[in-house]
């Protein structure tokens, strides 16, 4: 569980500190993996396969989110030619 917490924190640091939006997305994947590790560890300890089932769902959701997110990045990139998240301020005041 400590491994999962540590991985989660590294992912959060990545999300907050880096400016390249693709790396931010990859840090989000790290966070999701941390959660998965936690689930599998509990599933192993309690000898119940439900944890693994839920982990499979999380992987499926992560795949969907990665696909759509990357599509958004590509569409944005065509308009504004940047992946720096500080410059993506079209919705700012």
């Amino acid at each position: 569980m400590l491994l999962s917490a540590a991985l989660f924190t590294i992912g959060v640091v990545g999300v907050m500190v880096r400016r390249n939006i693709i790396i931010i997305f990859m840090s989000i994947e790290l966070i999701l993996n941390a959660v998965n590790i936690n689930l599998v560890a509990f599933s192993n300890q309690l000898q119940n396969a439900v944890g693994q089932v839920f982990a499979i769902f999380i992987i499926a959701v992560a795949a969907a989110e990665a696909a759509v997110g990357l599509g958004i990045i590509l569409a944005f990139f065509r308009n504004k030619e940047t992946v720096n998240i500080d410059e993506m301020n079209l919705m700012r005041w």
Partner: protein
């Protein structure tokens, strides 16, 4: 004993590569480290007895999602790296401080809240043996509705990705 050593070694590598993912200067290096990280996580799943999940992790995550990331990184090949100039509005130290606070909080929760849950989820005696069969049994009987919803979600995501990335419709 051997299992514990294996766990610590794999866990160490996972954390090292995770740090490398977050701190690499080039995006492509980050992606490569992410792949290696996922392979180690799959090894961890296999050592915990979840072999189906380990293979699915390699197949879907390492083999599919990260390939997508690599494609996008290469299509977005930039002349000027995004970290080149510092934005005065960004408070990096605040980001670090918040993350440290969160880690502390998670640690506290983990150590105090660790109570063995009452076996309310008594393991349904699936009439099949083997990890893959057990997961499959659960997926198709108790968790059928989430399964169908997940497939709908994937369909919607596919259509969404196509619509977003097409040049003209």
């Amino acid at each position: 004993m051997g299992e514990a050593i294996a766990f610590y070694i794999i866990a160490g590598f996972i954390l090292i590569f995770a740090v490398l993912v977050v701190t690499a200067k080039e995006a492509v290096h980050s992606v490569v480290f992410l792949v290696i990280d996922f392979l180690f996580v799959a090894a961890l799943y296999a050592s915990l007895g979840a072999e189906f999940l380990a293979i699915i992790q390699i197949l879907v995550y390492a083999g599919g999602i990260v390939v997508l990331y690599l494609f996008v990184v290469m299509l977005v090949n930039l002349k000027r790296p995004p970290e080149a100039y510092a934005d005065p509005h960004r408070r990096t130290t605040l980001g670090f401080a918040l993350s440290a606070a969160m880690l502390l909080e998670i640690g506290v929760i983990a150590s105090y809240g660790y109570v063995k849950p009452a076996p309310a989820l008594a393991a349904v005696a699936a009439p099949v043996t083997g990890n893959t069969e057990e997961v499959g049994w659960l997926l198709y009987t108790s968790y059928l509705i989430p399964f169908e919803i997940a497939s709908m979600l994937l369909l919607v995501a596919m259509i969404g990705a196509i619509v977003l990335a097409k040049r003209e419709l």
